[in-house]
């Protein structure tokens, strides 16, 4: 056994999981408040990565930025831009595709969500084509530090240790994602708007009677969820330096799986689910089943739904007619 490889994969999983978790938060928030599987959410994430690509090519960044001050400024600009743009896109989608259908049969908004997903993909496909796009990785993807765990043996069982590399990009993504999750928790638990969101999720009519503006609250939920997906889009380009018009489908599906795994409607659960899915993916690749990783993820999803439909942290929700 090699403890080094194990640790390395754990760190890789942490980075990928951070991105899945950011996307999963959007799914879980929207589902929590209007009980809709927002199929377009994965594509919002994908558009976020293309918005970053557009921003970088517009201001003429083509390579790694080494000056620390310029780098920090650029990162703030990238995240702010992508998050605001995608947040507004999310609000627009809610306004035109979901709000008119709030009283319609449940199938109706689900179908428009799939429609919106195809619209977003097709727009990007028309603007950028179907090839992979290189996005400049503004943080040097190789910079970082490495360390070695001690090798030891317990009885006859030898544990070796190869070099573990931690790159700054990975550290940045994980720290940022965790910070955003904490901020979201504080927002939802401590502020008036957060309380409005929670009460709308529990009982829309009662919340309305208590003076909560339902439309604004739902729009705000979409803004926050989509902004987090936009942030995940930026993180994706930082980590991989690549994006493609149909990226959102797979990532979205896995993140949704994460949200369900953690217990849909529960923000902490979404984060846990995101990391779990990423670990499953990374370790199935490590064991030589990378081609099967998708099948494994979805099999686990099906098993979880069959045996514990509420997910890890979910609560029993009464069926709403």
């Amino acid at each position: 056994m090699d403890a080094g490889i194990l640790t390395q994969q754990l760190l890789n999983g942490l980075t990928i999981g951070a991105m899945y978790a950011l996307i999963a938060l959007g799914y879980t928030m929207v589902y929590g408040i209007i009980e809709l599987i927002n199929f377009a959410h994965g594509d919002v994430f994908m558009v976020g990565s293309f918005v970053t690509l557009w921003l970088l090519s517009t201001i003429g960044v083509q390579n790694t930025v080494n000056d620390p001050v310029a780098l920090v400024g650029l990162l703030i600009l990238m995240f702010a831009f992508s998050m605001v743009v995608m947040g507004l896109v999310g609000v627009l989608i809610e306004r035109f595709a979901y709000r008119p259908l709030r009283r319609a049969p449940r199938l109706a908004p689900l179908i428009t969500a799939i429609g919106v997903s195809f619209i977003l993909q097709n727009i990007i496909q028309v603007l950028y084509g179907t090839a992979y796009f290189n996005v400049p990785q503004v943080i040097d993807p190789l910079a970082g530090f490495s360390f070695k765990l001690p090798s030891f043996a317990i009885g006859g069982f030898a544990v070796t240790s190869s070099l573990v590399t931690v790159t700054w990009v990975h550290v940045f993504i994980v720290v940022l994602a965790v910070a955003m999750m904490v901020a979201l928790q504080v927002f939802v638990r401590r502020t008036n708007l957060g309380r409005a969101m929670r009460s709308t999720a529990i009982d829309r009519e009662a919340a309305q009677l208590m003076g909560v503006d339902i439309n604004t609250t739902i729009a705000l939920t979409f803004f926050i969820g989509s902004a987090l997906a936009g942030a995940a889009g930026v993180a994706w380009t930082l980590n991989y330096g690549l994006t493609k018009f149909d990226n959102g489908f797979q990532a979205g599906l896995k993140s949704f799986t994460a949200a369900v795994l953690g217990g849909i409607g529960n923000t902490t659960g979404a984060a846990i689910g995101g990391f779990l899915i990423a670990f499953i993916e990374v370790f199935s690749s490590q064991l030589g089943y990378s081609r099967w990783s998708e099948a494994i993820v979805f099999t686990i999803l099906i098993l979880v739904l069959v045996f514990k439909p509420t997910g890890i942290l979910g609560q029993q929700v009464a069926e709403r007619a």
Binding site: F96, I111, I114, G115, V116, V126, L253, I302
Partner: protein, 397 residues
């Protein structure tokens, strides 16, 4: 006229000649459509778009989608279960045929037998997936089927030693049981190309495929109508409207939903067998999420719950997708050689999914019952609106 003759004439007029299940109208309707379609395309503007053979080939391809739409209609339209992995059963049917009749497997079972085998295997897969998952609520079920739809192509891609991986299985045997030589005199002097009705299944000759798919569709449609009007069909609709109420009326919801799932899957398997025999190749890339989604779009646009409606929806969507957009390019190219004003050169094929998406969103917002809605479904949808409108008035008053 005797009373009995008058009664049977009345039943005939009502489209219920053989009972209430529209079997007669399906057969007559399909026969008329099948007979007319090849000749419509000889007239302008269609004649400018391609030869009759091209069109008939396209129609036999469209038949696959009609079958898929009728099958998914049972699941989504009648039973109200959202199946987003419908292409998985399509793939299972196609691969079943590849095992039954190709040099790759060494077997050669007749096509018509394989049709039933493919349907049975797909139904079995539907039962296997449905049995543990159909207790789930609507949205969760959608996700499980979506996951299943993703797993199946991955399995077919990665089980190289059994499925030949991404290359797929090629050179499937084409049907040969009926060597169609209809006793139609060669009227090519009067009616062009009618001689093509004769001959065997092959790449150059779409006619046998065209006629067989029309026959298969007719049978499936009759079965679908009979199911819809049966005790089972009423149970499906009851579950669709209110599962709790249906259960308390004594309907075994799990078995009923399972049957909807299996029957929908078997139709998909049937379509898979037919398609693979026509294309003579199966590969995992043919059965992605796009297929499941396209069939869903066809069902929704056609009018969920209405069998003729979804069949027409599937046909129209397929023809627009395969012919319409292409021809729109040619047409615009002819009249605007320098590109459209404002838009410039536009390749409409690249906007296919944009148009799909807009059509779906627009349809849900403006006409959620689809283009050709079933009467019951339309009533239900508009009842909901009326009730809501009344509620809103109450709240505002």
């Amino acid at each position: 006229m005797t009373a009995a003759a008058r009664a049977s004439w009345a039943r005939f007029r009502g489209g219920h000649f053989f009972g209430r299940h529209q079997s007669f109208s399906v057969v007559v309707g399909m026969a008329i459509v099948t007979a007319i379609l090849p000749f419509i395309v000889l007239a302008p503007p269609f004649s400018g778009f391609g030869t009759q053979t091209d069109f008939v080939d396209g129609f036999s391809q469209a038949g696959v989608w009609v079958l898929l739409a009728i099958g998914l209609n049972v699941v989504v339209g009648l039973a109200g279960l959202l199946d987003l992995g419908y292409a998985a059963f399509f793939a299972i049917g196609a691969y079943t045929y590849a095992y039954g009749a190709s040099p790759y497997s060494g077997n050669h079972v007749a096509f018509w037998v394989m049709l039933l085998v493919g349907a049975a295997v797909a139904a079995m897969a539907g039962l296997l997936l449905g049995a543990p998952t159909l207790r789930l609520r609507g949205d969760y079920l959608a996700i499980v089927t979506l996951g299943f739809g993703e797993i199946v192509p991955v399995v077919f891609t990665n089980s190289d030693q059994y499925t030949n991986g991404t290359n797929g299985i090629t050179a499937l045997y084409q049907p040969s049981l009926i060597n169609l030589s209809l006793p139609i005199p060669n009227l090519s002097g009067i009616l062009p190309n009618l001689g093509l009705f004769q001959g065997s299944y092959g790449f150059g000759n779409p006619w046998p495929y065209y006629i067989s798919v029309a026959a298969i569709i007719s049978v499936v449609m009759i079965l679908a109508y009979r199911l819809q009007d049966s005790r089972l069909g009423r149970a499906w609709m009851a579950i669709r409207e209110d599962e709790l109420a249906a259960a308390s009326m004594g309907i075994n919801t799990v078995t009923t939903k399972l049957l909807a799932f299996a029957i929908g899957a078997s139709t998909s398997g049937l379509a898979g067998v037919y398609l693979s025999s026509k294309l003579s190749i199966v590969s995992p890339t043919q059965f992605g999420f796009t297929v499941s989604f396209t069939v869903l779009a066809m069902v929704v646009l056609g009018g969920m719950g209405n069998i003729w409606g979804v069949a027409a929806g599937a046909f129209v969507v397929y023809e627009i997708q395969s012919q319409g957009l292409k021809q729109l390019n040619v047409f615009v190219g002819q009249y605007f050689p320098n590109g459209l004003p404002i838009f410039g050169h536009v390749d409409f094929l690249t906007y296919q999914y944009l148009l799909y998406g807009l059509a779906l969103v627009g349809m849900m917002l403006l006409r959620p019952e689809g283009l050709f809605p079933s009467r019951r479904r339309r009533q239900e949808l508009h009842d909901v609106e009326d009730a809501d409108a009344a509620n809103v008035e109450l709240v505002e008053a």
